[in-house]
């Protein structure tokens, strides 16, 4: 399944600045692995060492939070729009 992935500002350094990329996978897990193949280093920013989505990162499929679906095992359909949304804070200095 080819899907579109929106890349948040903090992860654009892995995608050469692209704010949206195409990637594939039948599940979120496979998609993240495909992203890692294409953009080495990105997986570590999305998943923790056990392979789960990090607690300060959310992944949405067509606007639905995968935590309320089947998490990493959530199935993807051709053309789905995936958003990766990390918490952002800012900095005072």
């Amino acid at each position: 399944m080819m899907v579109r992935v929106r890349v948040p500002t903090p992860l654009r350094k892995f995608t050469n600045g692209a704010d949206e990329v195409k990637a594939q996978g039948n599940t979120v897990r496979a998609l993240v692995d495909d992203l890692e193949n294409k953009f080495p280093g990105i997986k570590e920013r999305i998943c923790d060492e056990t392979g789960k989505i990090r607690r300060f990162v959310n992944v949405y499929i067509n606007g639905d939070d995968i935590r309320f679906l089947q998490n990493m095992e959530t199935a993807l359909k051709e053309g789905d729009a995936i958003s990766i949304v990390p918490a952002i804070a800012g900095g005072r200095k």
């Binding site: 903090p10 300060f56 606007g63 939070d65 949304v85 800012g90």
Partner: protein, 272 residues
């Protein structure tokens, strides 16, 4: 309490009083409103500016920091001659000049677990303009525990996020994100940068939400939605946020008795 607007107030606030959603009644409520702005920095500056201009009754400002030259690119309450000054003193002076009828209360302290409840309790609405995750989770947990509505926001580079929380009714920040990243995991503005005008856009939205809350538009707030602003592509989008019944702050199994001990390392650095 009955309150009337003076002819001078009617003139000063005429452009917002004439908005049917505000009106004289809404303006009187704004005049009675008490807002706490956490951080007199990139987000807190525009938020406090617009709140004072709109005639908010009481405006509290918490920031322990002093003005630095690198702040001036976005922290519009502070001017060149303020470098080295306490941010809250600099902010108070400007806000008094803008609108002397707003009661400004300044607190040059660090917002921490031990004082958060006491500080937040005296206000009706909180604008979180802090710059670090520890403070953001601290504000969330304290505001949720007290039942105080608040506006959350974060900014980095050309992107901003904001969401309004009505405790007990809408999803809280911890429903959205379970907890803060480990310190150093995510770039700060100091490392990543921020465009001043992006902070201005998001801080202005925070002020808008506070004014709407008082003026009678409390059912039309940015609740259960995270607004994501990307200035690079100039796009705004919202993501639906669901209340998490297992949320440690506002869910059925509340696990957070005190606030964010897990990340006190960088706690209490307001200012963005």
């Amino acid at each position: 309490m009955t309150l009337r607007l003076t002819p001078e107030q009617i003139e000063r606030y005429s452009r917002q009083i004439m908005i049917p959603d505000v009106g004289g009644k809404g303006q009187i409520r704004v005049r009675q409103g008490r807002v706490l702005v956490i951080g007199a920095g990139g987000l807190g500056s525009p938020a406090a500016f617009y709140l004072a201009a709109a005639g908010i009754g009481t405006l509290g400002l918490v920031d322990y920091d002093r003005v630095e030259l690198s702040n001036l690119q976005r922290q519009i309450l502070h001017f060149t001659e303020d470098v080295g000054r306490q941010k809250v003193a600099s902010a108070e002076e400007k806000l008094n000049r803008l609108n002397p009828e707003v009661e400004i209360r300044t607190l040059a302290v660090r917002l921490e677990e031990r004082n958060a409840t006491e500080i937040l309790a005296a206000y009706d609405f909180i604008v979180d303009g802090s710059d670090n995750f520890a403070t953001k989770f601290l504000v969330n947990d304290a505001a949720v525990a007290l039942g105080k509505p608040f506006s959350h926001a974060g900014i980095v580079r050309l992107q901003g996020q904001t969401m309004t929380v009505i405790p007990g009714k809408s999803a809280c920040y911890r429903c959205l994100f379970k907890g803060p990243p480990p310190p150093g995991e995510i770039l700060s503005c100091q490392q990543a940068g921020i465009l001043g005008a992006v902070a201005g856009t998001i801080g202005s939205i925070q002020a808008t939400e506070a004014i709407k809350f008082f003026a009678g538009m409390e059912d039309d707030l940015l609740t259960d939605r995270l607004l994501i602003y990307d200035a690079k592509t100039l796009s705004f989008r919202t993501i639906e946020v669901q209340r998490d019944l297992g949320c440690a702050a506002c869910g059925r199994k509340k696990g957070i008795k005190s606030t964010t001990a897990e990340s006190s390392v960088e706690a209490g650095k307001p200012g963005s």
